[in-house]
Each structure stands twice: as structure tokens, then as C-alpha cells.
Symmetry: C2
Subunit: 661 residues, 2 copies
């Protein structure tokens, strides 16, 4: 079947009609991109993409990522036209309205055919890099019979101008991800106007400099598109196809200009476009022959999917493969048993080192874990013993040297988790969570099991000084919905937090870990961390004080409590490794730890080497919040803890003062 | 004077000796980079950099940025050796210890000769882009007699691998910043090992693709370094000099490996290095002849500086130039008078539009303001009437099309502010503060007057959905020390917040602004926003409720209060455009707004379309926090406010319920 314009042009125009009409009905949205890329997308879905609308979770389907997510009507049109159950034409009619799965930007949790949530520019392509990594890893692990597919991306100028693009394509080039194919909507228009307003870059040259192949085509010539996509598909490098397009193609008076990017065309222009496109039908009505051609295109992959199912049925590794793709973990019990052996110990280790110890247990037991670090392997302690690197020569490896690319790493982790079959974890310093913060947010929004190992979690990192000392970071990440922020206090809590992080398939986790050694505080109890906060030490004398602390400050709280007890003042110590989990406990449990009595009866004190703002939730209006509400300084950790008041010497008098007023 | 090795080698070895000894004494730090780049830096400071240690704030000095800030001993050595007052040799002896200005990473607020704080990788170079923009702008405005200097950068592989590098060099290439010269420490080593572990990029090709010139040299051959720097200095493009170096050069057993990057060499290796370098002197002792050569190098710029002073004395624009460089603003009173004229109005405008109205007043009055947006000009409303673009053809313009480069923009703004003579403001969506969060933090840490115009500040942006709806962002930015986060409620507050932002030369500001229209609530009062929070409406009936709200939710609070009053329940409404400023008020003022009585007597209620966490600070344990603690959704704004309970209909019953218990 050739790319006969008589067949393809109406198919592409169906996308244009749906897009302009849906945006018009919503009275907001982005018609320019779907109309401009309609021809390219039609060729991609009709001749190249391997998919089966009747089976959107087919493990070996090609992945398709609309990185330029504002052009969401493109993917909604493609999914509907090619025969997916979702979205329906009703959903498209209600584009951008309450309750429609056709949200302003594509959301992976609303539509099965949407591989990832896109919208924050640049991240779709960077997630696709992660998908392509997962594909190659599973291919190397399970063989081509089970896994052998491409990852296709449509990206715009915004995706390519964002910094994350540099990180993503650098990683893809180094790992030689030849199954990754990016179609660049080269329309030379951004919101502010012509791209020449803000960029003079030779994009093909940049991609080639990063180890990519580059192809070009006229994005409105079906035969030329097919030629370029075929060449890209054959390339043994990650490939960029520069598709020269006219934004808003088909809107005769507005196409090619920036006004068509992000606003409805208006009734007059839509009427004119119907003329130009030869599209007399009412909005949301697709002529039967055009829809039939689209549904034919949607059936292309059925046979491939059935053959794949046949191979799976015959494959000795099928069960293990399907377990991993289903995201079901084995090995938790064995790991817990190993960790329980640590209770008898008396290890004084940094929690980053405790995390390494935990990984030495977990990584062999859980083969789907793939680790890495943004060039801080020895500092983040993210590499387990005998964990081989994942490289372009050995995709079966399970440790990725991500380079100095925090944002690219985090987005790749999202892509890996979304692809399925792997559980990604990756490390950097906690301070550099700033660099990848929106990808962490996207983990939370997309409900991926990405695990962030963020070490050097406070002024306790010492000499590197304020640029490297997180102050606001732990509390600020607690504010992100659907993200568990763990800050364990010792070896045991660290192991528990790892187990908890692995067991929330729809919630990402942050492990905030120390550079400095911490004493082992826990000698008993299974998985106390699971309730988010628990009483580590009960008052001996009459309880007058409740100390609530996290991470490296729990040891300080214990010392404060001992000093208070020595003066006849009873003090509980609550360790709170995960406030999100504590929030989920029932009221009775919360009240057991934090009785609902006046501060004059029991003083509540928080101790955390970070901002105090937020701790009032637990300490009440008249409590005491010990923290640091300014930038840190460069000095040895011990001196800093003394300077900023995180010692029993500094805290006990404050408590006594509070108690006496 | 040629680059005679007999003179230059000892000068460079002085840097090596100071660096290895200071790191050893601190027992932490990074000797590899200063030792590797010692030769290049010696040539730069001896033959190219225009500076005068006796006058570190000389306005027309060349700027020098050590982007690879972990190599801080390089800049401390250079400043001390060339004759700056700070740091002293004592400071260097106390490198990384409490109280020394020689912090782990260079801090602009500790040492006058440090142009900017570096450490978070990639940002130094990106700030240098901003410095080079400011230089060209002031040159175009005041002429070459007053401003005509270069900006030199030393950057490492980390700086070049980070995504922000792509944004920074793209911006520099497009603006043809020919005075920007970057010396790349091409040592082929990162923390994790050889750069080939994580990158395969052809860096020169990438820079050329972005409109840069690229030169190369042997970073340990003085003549070759001089040749390459001379060629770069002459180039009419921004230029990269790839300096092929050996990391840790001079440490015979460790040089060239990654162990030398970030740890002390150890006593044995230091002894061996002393042998190799022919450096018998005790730690921190510089031989008299070597120091004399360095001090000579430091005197090179005195004449140029004196000549410049002569030109300034004769220049008719000198007073205006010096006012701008001193950061003293004129025009505030005129602006305030204009804004007071708005009190009589009844404008229902979005605060982003109110901001545009304010800019239409401010930009003509305050010529040092330079605006811009990361490709959202029409959405951020950041461009004032008749504000001409700053382009490679017209550096005198005052509006920058930053492109889709939020992080690059924010870092450039920091560089512009640090250069002095301009006040940068720049826009993006509030959600994309995530993309540039660490640069905003660096504004705060470096105490720069950068003003961030962050629009579309809540679910009120509507249809774009959860990827674009900030939930946690306002509260999370409040946690950053030394950052004023403004969220004005109407036209008047927006104007006031602009005036406040302009008047804090050492504190950056965020203006969080709505997409949607808001009624004008304020009809009287000068600069009420200056106290951070104020009583907008006093209870008529006996006061039982205090409503505290920000931005678009203040109108909701007013409506809630009216409903309560109609039931005989007195309610104050406090508008809180800036909680940081409110925190700075005296206790009496705070108590006047929020009397210290039990919640059972006066119920405190917060209303903000963001996370509730943090509001307990003001509402006390038993208060009511109206907010949104989940991701948003895609729908029209009005539907979303109803869905998520930001209406009087939803809030009044909750308050009544609280009051009755």
C-alpha cells in the first residue's frame, strides 16, 4: 500500500477537522500543532507504528509519545480514529471540560493509549529515552521474541529548546538507543513568534554532534514522509526526522503564523478551513469511508500482536516476564528477613551507606530494579555489589551512569517505569532535586514507581556550603501530592523505607539520606516506618514533652529526651520517617502519638535540620519548632549543627523556657 | 612579555600548592580542577583578564566566573596571589572552616572579587550569559567609553553536560554575545570516571551549531594557551576554548584520574607533588619572586581603570550611569502617584494584566528595568507598551525573547543583576518555576534583585489541566529563604507588590499572578501590601471568624464574610499578599490582625488555591484550612473552583460547622 494522497489526505484531514472543532467547542486549546502534524502522524500510524487498538497494554507494542503535549487533539484524534475504546467521540466533544478523559494535555492515567502525561515541555522526549532504555534492557534480558519494539516521539520546537533536551539526547546517543525515533515538528513558530526571535541553532548539527542520525522531509508530502520515516526506522542510531511543516496547515488565513498555536480558529476561519480541506461534514462527524480507512490502519498490528502472544505462550521465561510487566514484586519477604538480622547490630553508618547495604540485599532479589546516579555513584552509594553497568554494549546491565543530567535522569526513570518491566531508582544530591523537580512531580502525577535516592540531605553535608545544603527541600517535596518523602533515622529505618518505596506501585518515593554517620537507634520492631511516624521512646517520668524528629535529628531528640528525663521531665520521642504515611493513619493512631491536649499540658517540639514552616501542623500554635530558616554555611558538619542549634545543649534550655512560661 | 615558562610555571604552581594544601588542611575539597586549570588561569589573569585588585567593583572590569565552583581554590588562589584584599592567606588556611570567607564553593556575598556564587553546575556559565547581556546593553546605552568589557568563564564537563548549558549557549549564540569567552576544562574525567562512561558528544560541534566559535589548546602549554585565548578574544562570536588538561596536574600518582577530583591528595602524594613541581616551600608560603610576579600581573589593569575613571569624569552621562550601577532607583514616587489614581476605578482585570498596566507605568520611569519572557510574552503580559526588543542588532532594547528556556532565563537574570546597572524581570508560568527553581534559589542566596513574573498561578488557569496547574508551588517557594513571594489580590495590590519588589535590592521577588479576571477590592490606602498582610475588611457583627486569603481567593473570602455577617457572625478579612513581609512585622501588628485567643473564641480560616500545609502557622491547630491537596484537573476555571470547593457556597457551611462544635 503506497502513501496515496487520495487515501491519506482525507485521513489527515479527519485529524484536522476533529482538532479545530474540539478546540473551538472548548473555546481553548491548541489547533496549530495537530493540524500541522496531521500528515506526518497519519503516515506514522498507518505504516510504521506497531500497535493494536484492541490491546493497548500489549507489552511489545511500539510506544508513541506526544512530547508536544499541548497538541493533545492530535493523539485524541489518532486514538479515536484508529479504533481505541478511549477516547470516544463524546469525550472529544467534551475536550477540556470537566469529566472528559480528553484533558487539555494528555494524561496517562485517564486514557490507556496515552503512554505518558505530557505538557511540561521537553519531558515527553526525555521519558521516551527511558522507555527506549527499558525496551533494550528487557530485550537483552528476555530476547527479541518477547521484546523488540520502537519508541516514536513527536516533538516541537519547545521540546528541543528546553535544557532537558540536551540531557535526553546526550544520554540516548551515548547508549546508542537505535530504536528511538523522534519526529520534529519543524514549523519555525513559537508562541512569541518566529523561532528566529529566540534561536539560531542548527538543530540537525546538534543532534549529529550527540550521536544521532538526522533525516528531513516535507511534512505535507506523504511520499516524502514515508521515505524519511523508513530511513529513520532502518537507522542503527537514535534518529531525528525534521518534518518541515506549516503550523495550522489547512486554516487558510491563519496557517503559518503564531496565532494558530494556542487559540481557537474562530467560526469564520473554521468555515474557510472546511472549504480548503474539502470537509463539508458537521463537527465531530467522520465520513464512513475515511473512518473505515483509519480502522483498517488500526487493524495492521493485530496479527503481529497475535504472533507475539504465540511466542509468549511458548517462551520458558514468559511467566517471569509477565510478572515484571505487571509490576508485581517478589523477594520482599526475603529482604525483610535479611534486614531483621540487622536489629541485633549496632551499626553507626550514614543512611546513604545504609541504603547501599539495603541495595546489596534488594538488587539481587529484585531483578527488575535498575539503578543509577547523575554522576555521584560513590557519593549516593547507589551501586550495589556486582551490579553491572547498563551500556550500549550490554543492555542487560542494571546500573546506569546517567552523567551530570539530573533532569534527564529523572525523566528517563519515569519513562522506564511507564514502559513497565523495570523499577528505576536513581541518585543525586538532595539539593539537585531542584534541577529535576518537575520530573519528580511528573512521577507523582503519572503514578509511577520511581525511587529517588537523594543524599547529602542537610547542613550535615558540611563543607560544601550553602549551594549544596538543602534547607527547604524536604518540606517542599512533602507538598507535592502523591509523593512519599522518606527521611530515615538509622540503618533499620533506611531498610524499612526501601521496602515501603518498592511496595507503592502508584506512588513515587524520595529517600533523603545523610552524608554523615548516624547511630543505630532501632533494635526491635518490624516495619515501624510503615505508619510514617511511631514512638521510638516513651516518657519515663510524667510526660510533659513530645519530641518529633526525622532523619539525623532523631538522635538529637533522643539525647534531648534523656536530658529532660534526668531532670524529671518525661519526654516521648517520635521518629517520623514519612509524614505522608503518617497522615494516612487513622485518627486514633495519630492521637495516640500526639494526644489532643493543650500545649500547656504537653509541649510538642519538632526537630528537623530544615525549614520550620510546615511543622506547626504537628506542634500546634504554641509548640516549639527547631529548624533552620536561613541558608547554611561552609564548615564541618559538627560545627554547623552546633552553630545552628541542633544539639541537646541548645535545645534543652529552649524547652525548659517554654515549659516555664 | 611572552608566556615564558620560567615565569609562568612557578606562578601556576603557586595555585597548585595553595590548592592542594588548603584541601588537605580542610580535609575535604576539590584539588583536581585548580591543579588542572592552573596553567590556563595563570595566562588568563596575566595577559587577558582586565581587572584591578585594588578596585574590585570597577564597573568596567572584565567579569570572571568560575562556573566549575567546586574548584573554588582556583579563584581563592588567583584573588590572593594577584593582590586582592580578600581572601587573605589566613582565609585560605581556614578554607571550608567556620567563619572563613573561603567557603567550599565561592560565594559572591563573602568576597568582593567573586562575581557570583557557583556550585550548582551549569549556572555559572548561564549567569555569565546574563552578565554579557548587561554589558552589551549598557555599552549600547552609555557608549564604549563607559562600558566595554569581556566576560570570561572557566567551566567543566559538568557545566557543559547539564541541560542549562544548552539554554545558555543557545541564548548567547542568538544574541551574538561576542564578548563572552568560555574556557572549558577538557579533562575527560567526571566523578564517576572517564567522561566516556556517560557522554559521547562532540562538544565543539554542538557549540558551533549554536553560533559559537571554538578554539582548542593544550592546557599545559603556555604559548599554546596564549595563542588560543588571543584568538578567542579577537573572535566576533561567543567563543569556547577547549583546554585539553590533565586533572590534578602535578600530583604524580593521582593526576588524570577521578580520585583527584573531590578528595584531599593525602600527605604522601602532596610530598610527591612538591618534588614534581619543584616546590619546597611550606604550605601557604609563596616564594617572594613568585608572589612579586603575581602582584605585577595584578597591576596590569590599574592604568586601564584610571583611564576609565578619567573618561567617566568627563562623560555627561556619568551620573546616570553611576546611579544605575549603584542600584539606586528613581521614579518610585511618580509610579506610586500614578497607581494611586487607580484607587478610584473599578477594574476587573487579571493580575497578570494588572502587572502589565503597572509595567506600562514603571518601564518608562525606570530605564534600568529589562524585561522578558520564556516564550510566553502574550500570556505573562510582561512586555510594556513601546518596550523595544533587545536583540543582536539592538542591544539598547529592553525586552528579551528568552525562548523556551526558563532555567537559562532565570540564571541570565541573576547574571544581569550581579553585573549591575540593570534590574531584570522575566516571566513564565508559575508551574515552570520548577524548571528554574534552583536559579530562583540562587537569586535568594546571592541577594540579587531579580523579579520573577509567574502567571497562571493556580487551578484558575483552567483547561490546560494538572500539568500546568500549580498546587504546591506558592507554598514551596515561601520556604526558600530570602525570597519574597507576592500573590496580589487585585489591580491595586499588584501595583503595590511591583513597587515592593523593585525596592528590595538584596531580595529577589516572585509575583504570582492570575490568568483569570479579579474584581478590584481595594479602593483606598497607600501601600497596604507593604506589611505583607492587612485587614481588608473588619467584622461588623461580633467577630467570630478571621478569614485570611491571598490572590484570587481574597474575593472568595470577602463573599464568605458577607454571608457570615448576614447571619450575624462577624468576620474579618485579611489579605496576605506576602507572608514573608508579614513575618517581619512586629508582634503587636501580628497580634492586631491575629489576636492570641483560643480558636473556640475566634475561628481562623485560610483560603488559598494551593496546598494547605503551612497555613497552620496562622490558623492554629483547630483552625480551618481551605486549599487543594491533590493535583488539579482540566476544565474551565469556574468549574474547577466549584469542584474543589473555593466558593462561598462550599466554605460557609464548613465554617458554621466548625463554629458549632
Amino acid at each position: 500500500m503506497s502513501t496515496d494522497p487520495a487515501r491519506y489526505a482525507p485521513m489527515a484531514n479527519a485529524i484536522r477537522a476533529l482538532s479545530m472543532d474540539a478546540v473551538q467547542a472548548a473555546n481553548s486549546g491548541h489547533p496549530g500543532m495537530p493540524m500541522g502534524m496531521a500528515d506526518v502522524a497519519t503516515v506514522l500510524f498507518s505504516k510504521f507504528l506497531r500497535f493494536d487498538p484492541s490491546c493497548p497494554d500489549w507489552a511489545d507494542r511500539d510506544r508513541f509519545v506526544l512530547s508536544a503535549g499541548h497538541g493533545s487533539m492530535l493523539i485524541y484524534s489518532l486514538l479515536y480514529l484508529s479504533g481505541y475504546d478511549s477516547p470516544t467521540i463524546e469525550d472529544i466533544r467534551n475536550f477540556r471540560k470537566m469529566g472528559s478523559v480528553c484533558a487539555g494535555h494528555p494524561e496517562n492515567f485517564l486514557i490507556p493509549g496515552v503512554e505518558c502525561t505530557t505538557g511540561p515541555l521537553g519531558q515527553g522526549l526525555a521519558m521516551a529515552v527511558g522507555m527506549a532504555i527499558a525496551e533494550r534492557h528487557l530485550n537483552a534480558t528476555f530476547g527479541s521474541d518477547l521484546v523488540d519494539h520502537k519508541t516514536w516521539v513527536i516533538a516541537g520546537d519547545g521540546c528541543l529548546m528546553e535544557g532537558i533536551n540536551h540531557e535526553a539526547i546526550g544520554l540516548a546517543g551515548t547508549l546508542k538507543l537505535s530504536r528511538l525515533k523522534v519526529l520534529w515538528d519543524d514549523n519555525r513558530i513559537t508562541i512569541d513568534g518566529d523561532t528566529s526571535l529566540s534561536t539560531s541553532e542548527d538543530i540537525p548539527a546538534r543532534y549529529r554532534a550527540s550521536g544521532w542520525d538526522v533525516f528531513e522531509c516535507d511534512g505535507h508530502d506523504f511520499a516524502d514522509i514515508e521515505r524519511a520515516l523508513a530511513a529513520a526506522a532502518m537507522s542503527d542510531k537514535p534518529s531525528l526526522v525534521a518534518c518541515r511543516t506549516i503550523i495550522g496547515k489547512g486554516a487558510p488565513n491563519k496557517q503559518g503564523g503564531h496565532d494558530v498555536h494556542g487559540a481557537p480558529l474562530g467560526a469564520d476561519e473554521i468555515a474557510a478551513a472546511r472549504e480548503v480541506l474539502g470537509w463539508p461534514d458537521e463537527p465531530f462527524v467522520i465520513p464512513g469511508d475515511v473512518l473505515a480507512d483509519w480502522r483498517d490502519a488500526g487493524l495492521r498490528g493485530v496479527k503481529a500482536r497475535q504472533e507475539w502472544e504465540g511466542r509468549v505462550a511458548a517462551d520458558p521465561q514468559a511467566e517471569e516476564f509477565q510478572r515484571r510487566m505487571a509490576g508485581e514484586i517478589k523477594g520482599i519477604d526475603e529482604a525483610m528477613a535479611a534486614f531483621n538480622g540487622w536489629l541485633d547490630g549496632d551499626a553507626s553508618v550514614a543512611t546513604r551507606k545504609a541504603s547501599e547495604n539495603a541495595l546489596n540485599v534488594l538488587v539481587p532479589l529484585i531483578p527488575e530494579m535498575i539503578g543509577g546516579s547523575a554522576d555521584l555513584t560513590g557519593s549516593n552509594n547507589t551501586k550495589a555489589k556486582n551490579q553491572a553497568p547498563l551500556t550500549s554494549e550490554d543492555y542487560a546491565g542494571r546500573y546506569i551512569y546517567y552523567g551530570i543530567r539530573e533532569f534527564g535522569m529523572a525523566a528517563a526513570m519515569n519513562g522506564m517505569a511507564l514502559h513497565g518491566g523495570v523499577i528505576p531508582y536513581g541518585g543525586t544530591f538532595l539539593i539537585f532535586s531542584d534541577y529535576c523537580r518537575n520530573a519528580i512531580r511528573m512521577s507523582a502525577l503519572q503514578q509511577t514507581r520511581a525511587i529517588y535516592v537523594l543524599t547529602h540531605d542537610s547542613i550535615g553535608l558540611g563543607e560544601d556550603g550553602p549551594t549544596h545544603q538543602p534547607i527547604e527541600h524536604i518540606m517542599s517535596m512533602r507538598l507535592i501530592p502523591n509523593l512519599n518523602v522518606f527521611r530515615p533515622a538509622d540503618l533499620i529505618e533506611t531498610a524499612e523505607c526501601w521496602l515501603l518505596a518498592l511496595q507503592t506501585p502508584e506512588t513515587p518515593s524520595v529517600l533523603a539520606l545523610t552524608r554523615q554517620n548516624l547511630p543505630q537507634l532501632r533494635k526491635e520492631g518490624d516495619m515501624q516506618s510503615a505508619r510514617g511516624a511511631y514512638r521510638l521512646k516513651s516518657a519515663k517520668a510524667e510526660r510533659k514533652v513530645i519530641l518529633m524528629a526525622t532523619g539525623s535529628e532523631v538522635q538529637v531528640a533522643v539525647e534531648v529526651a534523656e536530658r529532660l528525663e534526668s531532670q524529671g521531665i518525661g519526654a516521648d520521642v517520635i521518629s517520623a520517617p514519612c509524614l505522608e504515611l503518617f497522615e494516612q493513619q487513622d485518627e486514633a493512631y495519630k492521637r495516640e502519638l500526639l494526644p489532643d491536649v493543650e500545649p500547656s499540658q504537653i509541649l510538642r517540639v519538632s526537630i528537623e535540620a530544615g525549614v520550620t514552616w510546615g511543622w506547626e501542623r504537628y506542634t500546634m500554635s504554641n509548640g516549639l519548632n527547631v529548624g533552620i530558616d536561613r541558608f547554611g554555611a561552609s564548615a564541618p558538619a559538627k560545627d554547623l549543627f552546633a552553630r545552628f542549634g541542633f544539639t541537646a545543649d541548645a535545645i534543652v534550655p529552649k524547652i525548659l523556657d517554654k515549659l516555664s512560661t
